[in-house]
């Protein structure tokens, strides 16, 4: 039995730990959650239906552990993606009149001057990116991290987080939109040659 878990630790230890640490922010707690995940995985092995990869199946288990951890620590977080989805007012666009569906003047994306080869700018980007991810609702942050940082495809994320494809699209849309705006307000504005 442990052979599987040892194998999982070898293969998926890093991604599980990295993901866990991002949310619990403490190495030992993150490590504990990884252990718990692998143990739970062993016990639930028969329920692994092969709909997702082993990796995303384990991430799904870990995700529940992280949520439990937050519930226990009574941190105020929203877990209900239905609440995120049902709120369908898009504050970036005008809702009525001739301009219905176009950008509100104060919401229009600004021009970004980014030198993708400048290591200093890239380093800055990561700092701001991580802060911006943290400012997201936790469910939005999870879908974004899995999709863009761990590069897991939509189907597997749906399986891991038990959400529908429709909800995932909406969540990714919202996450990206909020992140883009957050980066614009903080990272881009902080650039030295912004004034020109």
């Amino acid at each position: 039995m442990t052979i599987d878990a040892e194998h999982w630790l070898e293969l998926y230890g890093d991604i599980l730990f990295r993901y866990s640490f991002r949310y619990v922010k403490d190495k030992l707690t993150a490590e504990d959650l990884v252990s718990e995940t692998l143990l739970a995985g062993l016990k639930a092995q028969s329920s692994f239906a092969g709909q997702s990869t082993e990796q995303t199946w384990l991430i799904g288990i870990l995700n529940n552990k992280i949520m439990d951890h937050f519930r226990k620590s009574k941190r105020e977080v929203s877990f209900d993606e239905a609440a995120i989805i049902s709120d369908n007012i898009d504050e970036d666009f005008t809702e009525s009149g001739q301009d219905s569906g176009s950008w509100k003047p104060n919401r229009r994306p600004a021009e970004w001057m980014v030198d993708t080869d400048d290591p200093v700018e890239i380093k800055e980007f990561w700092l701001y990116l991580n802060n911006c991810i943290e400012s997201l609702d936790i469910r939005l942050s999870m879908v974004f991290v899995l999709r863009e940082l761990e590069e897991i495809d939509s189907k597997n994320i749906c399986n891991a987080l038990s959400i529908s494809h429709t909800n995932l699209r909406v969540m990714l849309y919202r996450a990206r939109k909020q992140l883009r705006l957050c980066l614009e307000k903080n990272w881009i504005k902080a650039m030295p040659d912004d004034k020109e």
């Binding site: 230890g13 252990s35 890239i122």
Partner: protein, 106 residues
């Protein structure tokens, strides 16, 4: 006059097929995860060609992805959360937990 008429009907058709900014913003995000149907793809591209703000939005979304990807595939280690991994001690600790649990059960 002929040209003007042709232009007018062209505009009518374009308005009909062309999604508004709100839909284009959604499509931009969807396009990052799935292949859009041809009609949606065409509407997105056409709108982006003509609308500066949507073009910026679209390019910036893909830029964010590109920058993340650059980092994930680069060897130089920046102090970012993406570099966090399990230490050897952690691995051994977890391994012991797994083994002791196995003994408990048998």
């Amino acid at each position: 006059m002929k040209e003007y008429k042709a232009m007018k009907s062209l505009m009518k058709i374009m308005n009909y097929v062309m999604p508004d900014c709100k839909e284009v913003a959604e499509l931009a995000s969807f396009s990052m995860d799935e292949t859009l149907p041809l009609k949606k793809r065409a509407g997105l591209k056409l709108h982006i060609m003509m609308c500066k703000f949507c073009r910026r939005n679209y390019k910036q979304l893909y830029l964010i992805r590109k920058l993340i990807g650059q980092k994930l595939r680069s060897d130089d280690v920046i102090e970012a959360e993406a570099d966090i991994h399990l230490s050897e001690e952690s691995r051994q600790r977890i391994s012991r937990v797994l083994i002791s649990n196995d003994i408990d059960q048998s």
